[in-house]
Amino acid sequence: MTTPADLRELVALHALGALEAEEAALVEAAAAADPEVARELAEQRHLVAALAPDEGAPDALGDRILPAATDTSSVDRPATTTDDAPVVELRGRSGPPAWVRLTLAAAAVVALLAIGVGLMRQDRDSSTAELAADVLADPQARVVRLTGDDGRTLATAGVTDDGTAYLVPEDLPALGPDEAYQLWMLPSDAAAGPISLGLVDPTADAVAFRLPAGASGVALSREPATGSVQPTAVVAAGALT
């Protein structure tokens, strides 16, 4: 169990960039849930930023950035629409998330309130991967590590305040020819059951999706190529809060 004193130590270490991914995600989740933790993290980051050396900004670098920005100013922002991942808004939050139990027993009893199995946007050009990298590095975004049964991180998701999200597959097991990975939102309201966010190409560099309000976590399951109305075999899951 993480005590308040432990958490304050972790906040300091996270601000310093000295945590591994799992503990960093714990701090991010705590900051998302508790404004006081968020404030302390912001203060520590501000302090730590003073440790960075100012090496001067080479004019040549600035001269490269401005044209690059102009060139990419029309890059679309793929996850700001919900067209690619049909979902249904959830009922309100209630109680602590039961996502772990829910996920591991997903195939058993939980009826879905709503299903939408769509192919999510998974561009192979560099823009989605770049945007995903930006979100994962964004100190104000929430990061979810999707881990397998053995604790290994199999994919990482970054979620911004407005629900724009990116999934970066890392080490997903290979699929058979008639199988697919399917991404699920795990609602805070456990009774609502997992909600499909769409199918995922595990070879994509990054996948854009939109995570509706009311999520307590996300999960990836192994499914038939056409997808399923409920998770068949969850291979990785992670908590958002």
Binding site: G17, A18, I65, A69, L136
Partner: protein
Amino acid sequence: MAAAPVDDGTLLARLRGRDPEALRLAFDTHGGVVLGAARVVLGDQARAEEIAQAVFLALWERPERVDPRRGSVRTYLVTMARSRAIDVIRSDRSRRQRESADHSRTEPLARAAAFEAPEGVALEVRQALATLPDGEREAIVTAYYGGLTYQEAAVHLGVAEGTLKSRVRSGLAHLRDALTDGNPEPQP
């Protein structure tokens, strides 16, 4: 080139208005420290410049992600640059551990071993670091300038992980006090 001072609110408003000169202004104001934050971890100018470019392009594409209530533009950019640099070195390290010994990043690790802040760190910050007890300064400098996790820093320093964690926390508190005494800037 020295940039004229501009407050964060004005800068962000101009970026949201797609004013390219605002991006140039952001770079002129913060580019040096963003580059430094990446280079001090990577020990590689070219890769640090790639990260700095990506950070400023992200600012251009998504200025709304910077919430001034949660920190300054400078803190946001520096945190992002450091985070991306750390991702790069940890990814490199994982790959090298699978392949062979890690002989990279000689400069950052040597600096961590010497417990020295690099050139370019503000004089008042260097002076504040110098006021910390040795254990606290070593913990912070090793983790920050070495780009190490606290577990790695503990091994590097030959102390228990719990000791390292508590020294970082108390060290940052003392650093804040030392900076605030002479300079109120660290308050977000």
